[in-house]
């Protein structure tokens, strides 16, 4: 009896969490398919005639798709490079002892402690003087500096959990340092690499401040910046805002779903004992 009540409470709790997290999302997506009258109806309209008018309006503006493409380019490169630099660094931090290791580790993490806005002006000035304003490169570089701490932090922890003996066995088998990293640590640390890749991608995709400051050309603006365009002016076109939001969120969801396939537990089972 007690166990059944416990189970029921468990399920009820889960339902609450799921509703709280998913409802805003549902509201955004459903609103994007509503006509303006349905949108503003009070009480809210749960059943309505769906329309694609908002999406057509967004498409007609002609800015968003280009902005999504810009975001994709920036986010994908920033993510790939963050993981490409961060994972080997994490491997070294997890497995080697060298002078200044803990300082290096703290330096990586402390990069994340800086309030982004404090660096916005210096970075703007530097970018201007080296001619990087209005380029993808400048955003990719900035995002890498913000992503690296996360990647290094998560991956170091993940790599530390891989039994030492596997590395030693591979060394005896004649594997080079790089082979050990690529063929043993990377596949076994994939859950951590995947999580850090998702975090990197989400951060790079959603970042607003630097994208706003460093990019002025309309055709180079990222989706997050374009989404804020609606906030100016005298009207609030809710339907278009929701449609834009839905379009912007979609790539993140697709990316996360693809990558989360690698977030499996128990990869190292059977290695030892």
């Amino acid at each position: 009896m007690d166990r059944r009540i416990g189970r029921l409470l468990h399920i009820a709790g889960l339902v609450v969490v799921v509703v709280v997290t998913l409802f805003p999302f549902y509201w955004m997506v459903s609103s994007s398919f509503k006509a303006q009258t349905d949108l503003l109806a009070n009480p809210p309209q749960w059943l309505f005639a769906p329309t694609l008018a908002n999406y057509q309006a967004v498409y007609a503006d002609g800015v968003l798709l280009g902005a999504v493409a810009n975001s994709l380019i920036v986010a994908v490169f920033a993510t790939i490079l963050s993981v490409a630099f961060g994972a080997p660094a994490a491997y070294a931090l997890a497995r080697y002892s060298f002078r200044g290791k803990s300082d290096l580790w703290f330096w990586f993490i402390s990069n994340r402690m800086i309030t982004p806005v404090a660096l916005a002006l210096p970075i703007y000035i530097i970018s201007r003087s080296v001619g990087l304003l209005d380029t993808y490169q400048v955003l990719v570089l900035v995002y890498i500096t913000f992503n690296l701490p996360i990647v290094v932090w998560i991956c170091t922890d993940q790599f530390k959990g891989i039994p030492h003996e596997l590395e030693q066995a591979a060394r005896l088998d004649g594997a080079s340092q790089w082979t050990i990293f690529r063929r043993i640590y990377l596949p076994l640390g994939m859950p951590g690499v995947a999580v850090s890749a998702i975090f990197s991608f989400i951060f790079s995709w959603n970042e607003l401040l630097y994208a706003l400051v460093l990019i002025n050309k309309t055709e180079r603006k990222t989706a997050a910046v374009v989404a804020t365009n609606y906030m100016s002016g005298y009207e609030l076109p809710w339907g278009k805002i929701m449609a834009t939001g839905t379009i912007i969120v979609l790539p993140v969801i697709v990316f996360s779903l693809i990558v989360s396939r690698h977030m499996v537990r128990g990869l190292t089972m059977g290695a030892t004992k």
């Binding site: 066995a169 591979a170 005896l172 030892t272 004992k273």
Partner: protein, 359 residues
């Protein structure tokens, strides 16, 4: 020069010395067992031979080559880890093929070698499985397979059987012995289990606190232990030790005075009693299996305490008059009751000086 040579090997971790100057040689095809209590440095020594641990001092030679500063892979040694250390994301085949891929062996040949090895170890049917789908014994076989498929010059085993249950351990022990015979390769095997050491080794190296206590064949160590440590470590159950003094010395042996002995005295034969003089403190040891009921010339008298029936043998625990715990391993099931007094003679008595050195 011998096939494997360790010369004054020292390994320190910070202020702690794990190995404190070990020198040792092994010939081609020998089965060497490092044995000792935990923390004696035996695993460290093995890892030094493998190249996984850097030396603090001394040198290591394999097959005439100084490998002290040579990478593990170039030493052509294979190691079976206590935890097996199988690559969990690879199939059994891939686990075994990994080392061969590293030396860029052609695919066809890798395939042939892996299958050949799998056949020897009877794991052909497991080649497509992942380590987590295997039982402990099967993992052990794969770990051994991964070691032999590379045809190394030298095999290293780090307590390979300690994770297996008793029956499997016996079975694998026999298989390792067979494997050694059929491959004829030099093997170095680390264990804390003196039964494994006795049954497998051509020669045993007994280690304590990072130093070699004695090197010899299993029978050597059993019959003529160099000191009380080796005498106590080799042989199961452990040798019984008693304290005493030399009462008198003559040509055939010595007379002992000890409160542990019946009537406080007894005579034992000694090979060389020239260093002894009356009054010297000594330790004498008797193996549990060398006791026998002897009412005529008893050495010790015990009061039986606990009896363990092992089937073919009976292990009898008792206390003598001096309060020493005494173990007797008797053949069959002697008719003894708890609390009964037993007068025991011994076919063989070991004598050690006050520092524990064998006399």
């Amino acid at each position: 020069m011998a096939f494997l040579v360790l010369r004054d090997v020292v390994k320190t971790f910070g202020a702690q010395a794990a190995v404190r100057g070990v020198s040792f040689e092994a010939e081609v095809g020998e089965f060497i067992v490092f044995v000792g209590p935990s923390g004696c440095g035996k695993s460290t020594l093995l890892r030094i031979i493998a190249g996984l641990e850097e030396l603090s001092d001394g040198s290591v030679f394999i097959d005439g080559q100084d490998v002290t500063n040579i990478a593990p892979a170039e030493r052509r040694v294979s190691m079976v880890f206590q935890s097996y250390a199988l690559y969990p994301h690879m199939s059994v085949f891939q686990n075994m093929a990994f080392g061969l891929e590293m030396v860029r062996m052609p695919r066809v040949e890798i395939d042939r070698k892996v299958r050949e090895t799998a056949q020897i170890l009877q794991i052909e049917s497991l080649l497509d499985r992942k380590p987590k789908q295997l039982s402990g014994g099967q993992r052990q076989r794969v770990a051994i397979g991964r070691a032999i498929v590379r045809s190394p010059k030298l095999f290293l085993f780090d307590e390979p059987l300690s994770n297996l249950d008793a029956e499997l351990r016996t079975q694998m022990r026999v298989e390792i012995a067979k494997l050694h015979r059929s491959l004829g390769v030099t093997m170095v095997y680390v264990t804390h289990d003196q039964v494994e050491a006795m049954t497998l080794a051509d020669r045993i190296v007994v280690l304590r606190d990072g130093l070699v206590e004695q090197v010899g064949s299993p029978s050597d160590l059993y019959d003529s232990p160099a000191n009380t440590f080796v005498a106590g470590f080799i042989g199961s159950p452990k040798m019984n030790f008693f304290a005493g003094r030399v009462a008198s010395v003559d040509g055939e042996g010595i007379a002992l005075a000890s409160s542990s002995l019946v009537d406080g005295k007894g005579r034992i034969a000694v090979r060389d009693a020239s260093d002894l003089k009356p009054g010297d403190p000594v330790t004498f040891g008797i193996r549990p299996a060398s006791f026998e009921i002897d009412d005529r010339k008893p050495l010790v008298e015990i009061t039986a305490d606990v009896m363990e029936n092992l089937g073919g043998e009976t292990q009898i625990y008792g206390k003598n008059t001096a309060g020493d715990q005494v173990v007797w391993l008797a053949q069959g099931r002697p008719n003894i009751e708890v609390g009964g007094k037993l007068r025991l003679g011994a076919s063989n008595v070991y004598l050690f000086d006050s520092s524990g050195r064998s006399l």
